[in-house]
Each structure stands twice: as C-alpha cells, then as structure tokens.
Symmetry: C2
Subunit: 328 residues, 2 copies
C-alpha cells in the first residue's frame, strides 16, 4: 500500500526512519511539512528527503502545501502527524476529512482532531468504507486500542484508569524519591527535556484529560468533550502530601479515570497503593482496563518518543494493510 | 460461526457460560467431556447442558466420545480445552490434528500440545488454510499474542520476561510480606486454592518453562522444547534470601526469560527492583516484551480463572470470526 505523511516533527521523522530501516511493504508517495510538500507517485526516497529536511528545514517544494499533498497525491493511507491543535483541531482536521472523502484510510497521532471530532470523523470514515485509526494518540507506544478491540474482544469494558502524562509522572516520582518541591521537580523535568517551557498543558491535567476523552469516545462512543472532564492538576501538591502517602505504603499519581456506568470522567492526583500495577516510575505511562471477563488488565510502556510513537503508527498501518490490502 | 467445545472443566464451563450470557454470534453444535458427547447441528441449548453436567457429571450421551464430536459435528472452530498433558499432548493433540485436517479452525488453552507440537500444528493449519490460536495458553486473560501480533506489528521482538506462574508468585509475595518460610507459604497457597496437592509442576518452574517454550516458538518460530530451558524452581528459597533482597529495595520473583539473539531460555528466581513493572503481587501474571520500536511494553493481569481464561478464548474466536467469517 501507498502512504502520504503530513508532518515532519518528531513522530513523522520516526515513522519515516522506521519505514526506511524496515521492509514492511509500504511505499511513501507524498510528504509535507509546514513549509513544503513533495509528491512522487513512483515512491519517494525517504532517506534523501530526511537528509534534505535536516539540511534545508524543508522536505520538498515550497510551492506545494500539505493540503496539496492530501488532495493530489496517490496514496491509500494518510498518516496525519502534524502539530496538534486542541482548540479547533485545524489544519489536521481538514486534512483528515479531505482524505476520508477521497476514500483514503487515516492513521494519526494527532490528539486535537480526535478529541474534538472523533464521532464525526468515524461516521464519515464508515460512510466511505475506510479505516480511521489513532493508536498513537494515547500513551505513545502502548497499544491500548488494539488491546481493547482485539485482545479483549467480547469483553464489556467497564472502566479505564490511566497514568497518561509522562511529565506529571516524572515530577511526582521525583517529589516522592527525593522530597523535592513541585517547583524543584518541574525545573528538573525541564532540564531533562520532559517538560515544556510552558508546562500548563501537562501539569494542569489538560493533556491527560484530552487522552481520557479520546479513550472514552473510542471505547464507548459516548461523544464526551473536554468540558465533561472533572480536572485537577498537580501544581498545588506539596511534598508533605506525598510524604504522608508514602508513609502508608502509598504514593500520589495523576490518575485519569472513566467509568461506563456512572459516566464519571476525572483527572486528579490520587493516593494509590505503591504495589498497584498503575504505579509506574518516571515518564512511563500505564493504563488499567476493567472488564467483565478478563477483569483488570494493565498495560505499561513509553508514552512518548519519536520511534516509540512511530511503533503505534506502524501497528495501525499494518492493521489496515492486513484488513484492506494485500498482506505486505 | 459454529463451534464445538471439547472439555468441560473450569475453562470449558467459563467459555460456555460466557457464550450463554452474551450474544456474540457464535452457536455451539458439539460439546464433549471425558465421559460423554453431544452433537446438535441446529445449535445446543448451553444452559441446559451446563445444568445437566452439574447434575449428572455428563454433558451428553455416554455413547458419544470427544473424538466423535471432533470428527462428526458440524462446526467451524474447535475449542479444545480438555485437561492438558505435557508428556505427549494426547488426546488433545489428536483432536486438534483431526479438526485441522477437516479444515476447521482451532482455538485452545491446552499447553501440552502447543508446547510439544506447535510447529507441526501450525504448518498443518497453514496447509489447510485455517487458523490455530492459543492466546489462553500463556498468562490467562492477558492478551500477549494479540499484542505481539497486532499491537506491536512491525516491531522486532527481542526478548520476553515473564512472571507466568501465579502459584509461585503468590508464595513469593507471601514470603516477602510476612516473612513466611517456603513451606508455610506453600501451605497457605494450598488452603487458598492457589496450589495443587502436588505442587511440583508449579514450584519447580515446569509450568512457567512450558509457557516460555510456547512464547518463544510463537514469537520466533524457533522450534525449542522444554529440554532447552535452563530451569530452577522456588522450592529452595529461604526467607533470608528474600529479606536481603527487600533490604535493597528489591524482591525475588520467578522470572521466565527468552532472548532472541542469544537464544537464552531460562526460568529462575531472580532479584528484581521492586518498582519494576514485572513485580506484581499475589497470583497475578506479568509479561514484559522488549522490542526495537516500542521498547519495553509490560502487560499485567489474571493468569488463571474460569471466566478470565474464557476471555482469551473468546478473543481468539472473535478474531477468527472477523478474519474468516461474517462479522458476528
């Protein structure tokens, strides 16, 4: 099958590097970054494009836009990995809709459009007979949607509990391990590259809440939005609160939780027993899925990283190739 | 699709109870236990059969054998969940071969035949164009093979590390928590129903080694056997060894490990940091999968139980229904 890749940030580069290094039967016929685009129906030399991007900051021709690639390139699957926009999902949302209307499958790591418009996109994809997959939007390399859809097929998913933000988890781990204040741990997280210059999005629980909305909408199709999430961040936590929890063999984690029957959607710092599978260290992510048959299944892994997130994208691409195309 | 169920122990009953309670589009046309069999091409009333089994100890007619059901019933998928035999895999192995030769898919929780004859069975299934799935053979409800095949598709699996025996894990957890001796913890495990009257199979690491062989053969197709596993049990562990590990923020777990490049296959008590995701408590199972793209993904869940194991069987049945049949 043929793919077009929109976005050449960390995830896009990870996907292309993986495709260049492995022979998994997918050829790239379109690539775009924010400033340029490149279309070649006969298959693009990925290594050459990555080199050019590194040298010039552009992957292609400044006269070709991302929307040109979405509209005109000859591909089966659009890989939409451009920077996310949690306000209106654009321009990624338009790219996805345009591709689906062209009867192209879509694979994305882009949280904004999926959190805002999953129901609409899914309905459109169904109507056009194509797949919309977004494994990479939640918990990076952890294949949570594959697990819910295939591994736990036949199960009734009753609730999910997640440690979905690596920045917060790093800060909380360091506060507990070293008795650091929130401010000290945040500073360290910045120095380590785990926190942005403006950490609001992470430490206020917004990022975790967006992922929770995606989980709930994907699992239960209930059309919830960010406003439905009861949200508390970690920025007012004191070292004393953590010390008290640790004295009782517990610790504090920012837990995102969704419950099917009560409709609860909450992101908040929670006291949790240290030996619970959800208690992971550092920047790891973890998700516990509560079901009627399997009971509680927990998945742990890297929630970010270029190649780690590419793993989720590649899993989705191969899923589509298996279901809709020839086996690669 | 139509299924036939061979074996009405804990797993078989779990599968039938689940099918009776959920409408997932599968009808049962054959059932057998060790003493009787029942064939009805128009679909068996599951609740009635379960009631009869409870009352009389038989699910059907004493004149109908399990092999009769395998040979003669009209089904698409054979669910082989009869008691396991790790020496020659029989009679389950013959049931499976017979079904595959009839071009029927096979789903099983039966470790013996899969550990002994996976390569042969897989080749036969390929030749006949049917599926052979065995998610329930390793770690009960934990969908490890679905994760390897779908969620981590495109990844190179480099190594697996597992806590695969709930009995050993329960004993080690209790030795660490309460300072019990091995003998005391074993006695408690028996009283709790976590250990058999003869615990050899579990505490000597044989059960974990069989699961490790299944993992290695499924992931790498390397045709290894139980004799290739370097195996040490937990029956000589002292409370002192565990206390020393705990003093260094570590603990001891029976770890099954397989490494692709070195070919290492080992089951042994290992000192492991308490905050490692593999360190689970009580009778839980855990598997860490090391890959090139996703890096380390850990799955945790219940390794046994009637309905929990049925979850893995149902997942395999729905996978086959999705790939080979109409969507249920």
């Amino acid at each position: 099958m043929k793919i077009a890749v929109i976005g050449l940030g960390s995830v896009g580069r990870g996907v292309l590097e993986t495709l260049a290094g492995k022979n998994i039967g997918l050829s790239v016929t379109g690539i775009a970054d924010s400033k340029s685009g490149y279309i070649d129906p006969s298959g693009i030399d990925i290594k050459k494009v990555l080199m050019q991007k590194k040298k010039t900051g552009r992957c292609g021709d400044a006269g070709v836009t991302a929307m040109d690639v979405v509209r005109e390139a000859d591909y089966d699957i659009l890989v939409e990995v451009s920077p996310t926009n949690a306000t209106d999902g654009e321009p990624a949302l338009s790219y996805m809709k345009t591709a689906i209307k062209r009867k192209k499958h879509v694979v994305t790591s882009n949280k904004g459009p999926i959190a805002l418009a999953y129901k609409e996109l899914k309905a459109l994809a169904k109507k056009k007979g194509v797949a919309l997959r977004h494994e990479a939007t939640v918990a990076g390399a952890v294949p949570v949607f594959h697990t819910v859809e295939q591994g736990l097929a036949g199960n009734d998913i009753r609730a999910v509990f997640g440690v979905l933000n690596g920045t917060c988890n790093y800060i909380l781990t360091r506060m507990a391990e070293e008795g650091l204040t929130y401010e000290q741990a945040l500073l360290e997280a910045r120095e380590m590259g785990y926190a942005e210059a403006d950490p609001t999005y992470d430490v206020k629980g917004i990022d975790a809440a967006i992922k929770l909305v995606i989980l709930a909408n994907t699992i239960w199709g209930n059309g919830v939005t960010l406003d439905d999430v009861d949200r508390t961040g970690i920025d007012r936590l004191t070292p004393e609160a953590i010390r008290l929890a640790e004295e009782g063999d517990c610790t504090i984690r920012l837990i995102a939780e969704a419950d099917k029957s009560s409709g609860l959607l909450r992101v908040s710092p929670r006291i949790i027993r240290k030996n619970h599978p959800l208690v992971v260290e550092g920047s790891l992510n973890a998700i516990s899925i509560e079901t009627d048959l399997a009971k509680e299944i927990t998945l742990i892994g890297k929630g970010a990283g270029s190649i780690e997130t590419a793993s989720a994208i590649i899993g989705d691409l191969l899923f589509i190739a298996e279901r809709y195309g020839r086996r690669p």
